[in-house]
């Protein structure tokens, strides 16, 4: 089965081609089925291959596809690497991908761009699979940029809306900033190792100066910052919610945004060697986690809340990566994929029920109307808030334990983040599902549960969110941590990724986390359920600190003022003044100078013989005197 791994990306590619060329002619159900089946086929192969991999002793399989780019000593074959890390990501991508495809057949049913949507979605899956399967940085980069493209296409899916288009463009460009870092990192790797193939270079990393490794790690991390929406390149992700909700679930929660995590785990040796780089990762991750969680507190758009929550959770993962907790981070990626996909899909179901409304201030009391959605989302909310025994609890707890060991301050940041997370998630839950319905009469009349094609994925994901913790049970309780063993295979310097805390401390930390989350939930309960506080409708009624948060710390505005506007202004100046006026001016100036001098010189030809003779004689005298004196 492992030999068939190239088929895994091939199926979605075929789906893409079929839908891309013939989509308009196919019926909607056929088009959706083709796309879903393509991903399902990939999923099945992934599962079979996964089983085979776990049964075999060879944990790192390199599969040649074709020879791709050769340039002297730079040889880049099109090659896949199938090992424990990529096999896990394959499962996540194809599994959740399949569910979301199924969900989308329901969600997008009435959209005129139905087949186009699936075309893009399949293409996305293809690129995402390339990203995780590549055996060198360039194939990862191909996938990396490819998913960026699909993200661009899907965010701007409703292309008549200028705001959506702007969001799409912003996502692409922000990502490209990161990509440049990634690309430079690849070059440095190539210069340093003479190769960019994973299986060639990681073993040699130890013999390279640490400063070089640091540079490589930091450059790669810049790429990760873009793709995984970390400070300062995170602003595109909330805007990306312009896309259809399944897209947010698949791309902007479960898979694409975790590519940064994947890449750092893939390159773990660099981060293990370089303390500077790993510190940076941890700090950036921590700050992002807290920062985004703060913004999440006061958002009113159901998808925006989830978006900031995603940024915040990604921050946590990087925090984990920074302290060397690679397997915990991957664990959190996995559980996060479950519950965040579920949350988004649930939100989609809510929006679907509400007829397109996304503002939680206009919702409320939905729990009786859309039961399945409510129940599944409830599970997901608990999971993300870190309450046992749901999946989020295990992954977050393991991660924070690592952080605590590494740095108390960062641990505090992580704790704070999870407290805030619990608060705003429950705020969302309460405002959406509890209380009275606050929407229009028409909407109330329209409220209905989503079709089975949408609820089925919700249920599956709810089960996964609930039970996902089983993948990584705490070791200190002498339970099997499967995830640790799985990912441990690809961690080259294992020392850093082991927890050495005493069991008591871990236990205390765990309880502390649960207590804090519970308290936070209770606070939210008091505020929104008991006291029925509603988010104000008008910004001016907010206190100044609230206004700051409500406006997302004005980051977008700052970027606009500090980067976009100056670039536009500078470009304008360059064009109007430097290019047209100065450079072209000089060129034209030479031309007109020639003409000007010419029109002066020709005046000497004044037609008067006397003058001609005088000039001649002057010429003669000058020549004779000059020559004779000069000699």
């Amino acid at each position: 089965m492992i030999k068939l791994i190239p088929l895994v990306p091939l199926f979605p590619l075929l789906g893409f081609l079929v839908n891309g060329f013939f989509g308009k002619k196919l019926s909607k159900s056929l088009s959706g089925s083709i796309a879903s089946i393509a991903v399902l086929a990939s999923f099945i192969i992934s599962v079979l291959a996964f089983i085979e991999l776990n049964g075999s002793t060879n944990k790192s399989n390199v599969i040649d596809v074709f020879s791709w780019i050769n340039a002297g000593d730079l040889k880049i074959p099109f090659q896949f690497l199938y090992d424990n890390l990529s096999s896990l990501f394959l499962l996540i991508i194809t599994g959740i991908g399949f569910l979301i495809h199924v969900y989308s057949t329901g969600y997008m049913h009435d959209d005129e761009g139905f087949s186009r949507f699936f075309t893009y979605l399949n293409l996305f899956v293809f690129f995402m699979l390339l990203l995780v399967l590549g055996n060198n940085y360039l194939i990862t980069f191909v996938g990396w940029e490819g998913v960026g493209l699909c993200s661009y296409l899907l965010i701007g899916f409703w292309f008549k809306n200028t705001a959506y288009n702007n969001a799409a463009k912003k996502a692409f460009i922000m990502n490209r900033i990161g990509d440049l870092g990634f690309l430079l990192g690849i070059f440095l790797i190539y210069i340093t190792f003479g190769s960019i193939t994973y299986t060639d270079i990681f073993d040699k990393a130890g013999s390279v100066p640490t400063s070089t490794i640091t540079a490589i790690a930091l450059l790669l991390f810049v790429g990760a910052m873009g793709k995984s929406a970390q400070l300062p390149l995170y602003t595109w992700l909330p805007d990306a919610m312009a896309g259809p909700t399944p897209v947010s679930a698949l791309i902007h929660a479960a898979t694409m945004v975790t590519a940064g995590i994947f890449m750092v785990v893939r390159s773990n040796i660099f981060y293990s060697i370089s303390d500077v780089a790993s510190e940076t990762v941890a700090i950036v991750g921590g700050i992002t986690a807290l920062f985004a969680a703060c913004i999440g507190l006061l958002q009113n758009d159901i998808k925006k809340i989830l978006a900031y929550s995603t940024v915040s959770q990604l921050g946590l993962m990087f925090l984990g990566l920074g302290v060397g907790a690679y397997s915990s981070a991957v664990f959190h990626v996995t559980t996060h994929a479950f519950f965040k996909a579920l949350l988004f899909l649930g939100a989609g179901s809510v929006i679907h029920a509400m007829g397109g409304e996304q503002d939680i201030r206009k919702m409320g009391g939905l729990k009786g109307k859309i039961k399945i959605t409510f129940l599944t989302m409830f599970i997901a909310t608990i999971a993300i808030s870190g309450l046992p025994p749901f999946s989020g609890f295990f992954s977050k707890d393991e991660l924070l334990a690592h952080v605590y060991e590494h740095s108390k301050a960062l641990w505090l940041v992580g704790m704070l983040t999870s407290i805030l997370t619990a608060f705003y998630m429950f705020r969302m839950l309460y405002l959406t599902f509890y209380g009275k319905f606050r929407g229009t009469h028409e909407q109330e009349h329209h409220l209905h549960e989503s079709p089975p094609s949408m609820t089925f994925p919700l249920i599956i994901l709810a089960i996964l969110s609930a039970l996902g913790g089983l993948l990584g049970l705490p070791e200190f309780l002498h339970l099997p941590n499967w995830m640790h063993h799985q990912i441990g295979e690809v961690i080259i310097m294992k020392g850093k990724s082991l927890i050495t805390l005493s069991h008591e401390v871990e236990l205390i930390l765990m309880c502390l986390a649960v207590a804090a989350a519970a308290a936070s939930i209770f606070f939210a309960y008091n505020l929104y359920l008991k006291n029925k506080v509603l988010p104000v409708a008008n910004e001016s009624e907010l206190k100044s600190w609230q206004r700051l948060i409500y406006n997302k710390f004005y980051v977008d505005e700052i970027y606009e003022a500090l980067i976009r506007k100056p670039i536009d202004a500078v470009s304008d100046v360059l064009y109007k003044y430097v290019d047209v006026a100065i450079i072209d001016g000089v060129v034209n100036g030479v031309g007109s100078a020639v003409k000007g001098v010419g029109s002066v010189v020709r005046l000497a030809q004044n037609g008067n013989i006397g003058f001609y003779i005088i000039s001649m004689i002057m010429g003669i005298v000058f020549i004779v005197l000059f020559t004779l004196l000069y000699r």
Partner: protein
């Protein structure tokens, strides 16, 4: 030498034509005579050694024969082109005679071996030209052209003679080789007036080839003279002047080259700059071509400059003369035809591509040739100059040449643009060109292209 005699004879025959009333047959006779002259010239070329005439005052060596060949060939084309010029004037036979005598002077200049024949050649060539320049009797501009040419020409002759006298005073001989050997032997004890003499001669020759700052006559005379006479001036007269220049300074004064090369370099630079800058601003095409001829003169002077230093083959100059002469014949032919119904202003060329596409094409080729763009002969001409110059230490001159060439492209293209781009649609009256003229123009264009594509046809023959 036989060619020279034949053409002198033709001149006398032309004068008799009026008396014996065979005016109509004169042109064929002249053409036949020129062909005969060319043939004898060709035979002399193939004879093993040069023959000396008049006590070594004239000797047709290879160099002389080569230049004579160019001059005779150009004259042949010119006569066909000019046939209606002769028909227009009431005393056409005199003009025939004048042109033929000027030709005699020109041929003499290619082959002189003595200061006397140099002087006589110049004057025999110039005096008929003065008359021809003024030959439109009732045209004030033509009068003025003739007058200016005469005054300045004789003024320059004065300097030439003064220089010759001084050189004679120092060396005691008019013979070019005697002077050369005297200079070589007594290089240390030459009196200072000798140097002044050489400079005077240089200046006079610069005047004849119209190099700045002695070029002032050229634009005015070119503009004022009848167009076909201008064509003659810029081809035959110019080629002859260069032949004379080359011979004099290659043979006699190569021993004191450090005296005059620097001066010549400055003259070349000045000519390039003044000519190209002035030409860029002209709206009269004929006048523009006059300035362009000054710039080409500068290029040819560069060959002389380079030859002294590096002893490169003089075929460069010969090729240049040929390319320039042929290109000019075509260009002036077109200008003449365009100006028949209008004037020589550049606006007269507007829409020529529609009025007479063939003429426009020929003009384009000759403009490109004058601008030095491959694969025209003008390009190779420039190429030879560059090749010759790059071995010398006058590289700064080369840079000036390159820069001013770009300016040159500007004004040559102005004509092309006028022909193809300007002009309104309504004014599409066809231009009628006499067949014989069209043939000459097309022939010149073809020659321009052929020797541009296969330059060795010419260059190899003339490599010494």
């Amino acid at each position: 030498m036989k060619g020279l005699l034949i053409i002198s004879g033709l001149g006398i025959v032309a004068m008799l034509a009026e008396i014996f009333k065979f005016k109509k047959a004169l042109l064929p006779i002249v053409l036949l005579g020129i062909v005969a002259a060319y043939a004898t010239n060709f035979i002399e070329w193939n004879s093993p050694q040069s023959i000396v005439y008049f006590d070594n005052m004239i000797a047709f060596d290879k160099l002389g024969i080569a230049f004579s060949g160019i001059i005779i060939a150009t004259a042949f084309l010119w006569f066909i082109l000019a046939n209606d010029y002769f028909e227009d004037t009431n005393n056409s036979v005199d003009h025939f005679a004048l042109v033929l005598f000027a030709l005699v002077g020109a041929l003499m200049l290619t082959a002189y071996k003595n200061m006397t024949t140099l002087f006589l050649g110049i004057e025999i060539m110039s005096i008929p030209m003065y008359v021809l320049a003024a030959s439109k009797k009732n045209n004030i501009k033509s009068n003025e052209a003739g007058f200016k040419y005469l005054i300045m020409g004789s003024f320059a002759s004065g300097f030439l003679l003064f220089g010759i006298a001084l050189v004679y005073g120092a060396c005691g001989s008019f013979d070019l080789f005697m002077i050369k050997s005297y200079i070589t032997i007594n290089s240390a004890t030459l009196p200072s007036f000798f140097y002044v003499g050489v400079l005077m001669i240089l200046i006079a020759m610069c005047f004849k080839v119209s190099a700045a700052p002695f070029h002032f006559w050229a634009p005015d005379v070119y503009e004022g003279s009848p167009t076909l006479i201008t064509a003659l001036m810029s081809t035959v007269v110019k080629t002859a002047a260069f032949a004379a220049f080359l011979r004099l300074f290659m043979i006699s004064f190569s021993g004191v080259s450090e005296l005059w090369t620097m001066v010549l370099a400055v003259v070349v630079a000045l000519s390039l700059i003044v000519a190209n800058l002035s030409a860029a601003m002209q709206s009269n095409v004929k006048r523009m071509l006059a300035f362009s001829s000054i710039s080409h003169a500068a290029f040819m002077l560069m060959v002389i400059l380079a030859n002294v230093r590096s002893n490169l083959s003089v075929s460069a100059l010969i090729y240049y003369s040929l390319a320039y002469s042929i290109g000019s014949i075509a260009a002036f032919g077109v200008v003449y035809n365009v100006a028949l119904k209008a004037n020589e202003d550049i606006t007269s060329f507007n829409g020529l591509s529609k009025r007479h596409p063939l003429l426009a094409f020929c003009m384009t080729v000759s403009m490109l040739s004058l601008a030095g763009i491959p694969v025209t002969s003008g390009f190779f001409a420039k190429y030879f100059v560059f090749t010759a110059m790059i071995g010398t230490h006058y590289k700064w001159l080369l840079i000036i040449a390159v820069l001013t060439s770009a300016v040159g492209v500007y004004y040559y293209l102005k004509v092309v643009i006028a022909m193809y781009f300007k002009g309104n649609e309504s004014d599409n009256e066809k231009l009628i060109v006499e067949k014989s003229q069209a043939i000459v123009i097309v022939l010149s264009t073809i020659i321009t292209l052929v020797i541009g594509i296969v330059p060795n046809l010419v260059a190899d023959i003339f490599s010494f």
